[in-house]
Assembly symmetry: C2
Homo-oligomer: 143 residues x 2
């Protein structure tokens, strides 16, 4: 147990985040997905046809991360990438039938991870609120 370490917000967040994705990992592996791939699909399940830019905005990830990730999902047959006719700079990402079908299989996952976190609903809600507030503040501080 290292005191300086455990007094830091950043380390607490870093540890908790890795622990949470570690709970997701074996569940997502059954769907053939990694956690960031699952995040991209979640955006597409709500907004099919999003551009790479839209995905980047939603997840705060840049094209250097998204481009190869999207290519992997495309070669897995879960989506297609097509240049927008209206604006040739844009690449629109469309789910395939397989990609859409995964939504149902993924439905129970968040609940299972929330349960694994071992918090009361009220406590969980407060945590979410606090994290959203912290993230906004940190982003505005980082510029």
């Amino acid at each position: 147990m290292n005191d300086a370490l455990h007094r830091q917000v950043c380390f607490s967040l870093y540890s908790a985040s890795r622990a949470a994705t570690a709970v997701y990992r074996p569940l997502l592996e059954e769907l053939g997905l990694t956690y960031p791939q699952y995040l991209v699909l979640m955006v597409l399940w709500e907004q099919d046809g999003s551009s790479v830019r839209d995905l980047g905005r939603a997840l705060e990830l840049d094209s250097g991360t998204l481009s190869p990730l999207l290519k992997r999902l495309e070669s897995a047959g879960l989506l297609r990438r097509t240049r927008s006719a209206a604006d040739e700079r844009r690449v629109e990402v469309h789910l395939t039938e397989d990609g859409r079908a995964l939504q149902e299989k993924a439905l129970p996952l968040p609940q299972r991870v929330a349960e694994a976190a071992g918090l009361e609903p009220q406590e969980l809600h407060t945590l979410q609120e606090t994290l959203a507030k912290v993230t906004r503040a940190l982003r505005s501080a980082a510029g």
Copy 2:
């Protein structure tokens, strides 16, 4: 704004964690460090001579992550890795003078990031407690 996304603990943690390390990044860059490298040094500043295994236990990182990271810190002249005389399986990690000297330069960092998080001291404390609890629960769930 994607609803399904923002209702998930894991995504909140993932976003907050990346936002926090993003605040650290430019500050650590002045010291020539990445965030995980800084974490390793924090452990060594409190427990110089820790083994790779000790570092792994403290940070919950495995040797596949730590070995190359430690080599980079060694070639940066911040530490030395030596086989333990008592147990030839162990590699003990000792700070150099330069490595120890960085502690003082890094001293103000946590405070600055905590301020950037924009929480009241009481709120910050509650967050830390909740995150520690969540991390323990998630780890025991992951096995």
